[in-house]
């Protein structure tokens, strides 16, 4: 997975993913398929910082993902990936565990493949 564009395309192919956005940890957008990715940027950065802060404070090891659970079931999930944040908006009718597992599997392949998602 050499480039952000390819990575985003692969995430979008996952069943239940309505759209995604990939950021650097400073909030700059690398790419995405959501209509207005700027809307999600501040929340993703704050979410990433919060997840990291709680990890350090409590002594947890690694944050796999953070979910903003919505009454409409179109939850928004944030995945910290090294110095990047991936935000995924899910379809309201998807089977969430399968969708999350597929995203985490793809992230695992990117991060253990020795290549960066940036490109």
């Amino acid at each position: 997975m050499a480039t952000a564009k390819e990575f985003i395309a692969r995430i979008d192919e996952i069943d239940g993913v309505a759209g995604c956005v990939l950021l650097r940890e400073d909030g700059s957008i690398l790419g995405g398929s959501l209509d207005d990715p700027d809307l999600y940027t501040p929340l993703m950065v704050l979410g990433g910082v919060t997840a990291h802060g709680i990890k350090d404070k409590v002594g947890f090891t690694y944050c796999r993902h953070l979910s903003f659970n919505r009454a409409g079931k179109d939850h928004f999930h944030l995945f910290p990936i090294d110095k990047f944040f991936l935000g995924v908006s899910q379809s309201a009718d998807c089977f969430v565990p399968d969708m999350l597992q597929a995203v985490l599997r793809l992230i695992g392949r990117v991060t253990t493949g020795g290549t960066s998602a940036e490109g």
């Binding site: 929340l43 979410g47 910082v49 802060g53 947890f60 090891t61 944050c63 796999r64 903003f68 659970n69």
Partner: protein, 238 residues
Amino acid sequence: MPYGGERSAEDHSDAADLSSKEMEMKQAIDELKAIPGVVGACLFGAQEGLIQSNLPGIFKPEKLTEVGKQLTKLLVAGRLSFSDLSDLSLHYDESVVIARELRKGLTVFVICDPSFNHNLLTMSLNLLQEEMRGQVDVQRSGFAEDSTPRPAVPLASPPVAGTVDADLEPLLAELRALLAKVLGPMAAIIFDEVREQWAVQGAVASRVNELVKLLHVEIGDADKIKTFEALSAPLLKK
């Protein structure tokens, strides 16, 4: 009463009432703890700090207070983006943290094993949320009947939140924009939160310097504070 806090003698007459409320809150989080996979829960008040916890002793009150602050901030920010936000779940390797705003200024967070029963916990949180909202209604009607001054309790002073001088709005907008130059995309959320906190004591021109000081605390970095001071100084001299 905040976790680990002390009461003055003047509040003694309210002690039984407070005790009863504390017991109810304790009971509520104890019920959450009875759910399989739940390690424990905490109630955190935006004003009071840590109110109740039944987490094991390794979770120190100071750490839980910090966690409560961060989760409360994220819930507020989340609601700005998603008006139908119900709760947050943070999935770590060994634990899951669920946070929900029970009512304005009161957050519950629950720490669970990864194998916890999400549906059961969600249902219990829904019930707790309904219960807390009901209590607020009762408290409001109770306070309306009992207007006896209670000088020892800071909350007794009448808040004037949201009453911003119309002339002040352009200045606040400029400060918000300047903060964005220093903090980037986080600035809008931070500014709005700090402004809300500041406005409780009255959003008037004579208190703008206090707002700026609160913003300095949130910026937290000496160099960035200097930059913000330099940028905002011309506005504050007007």
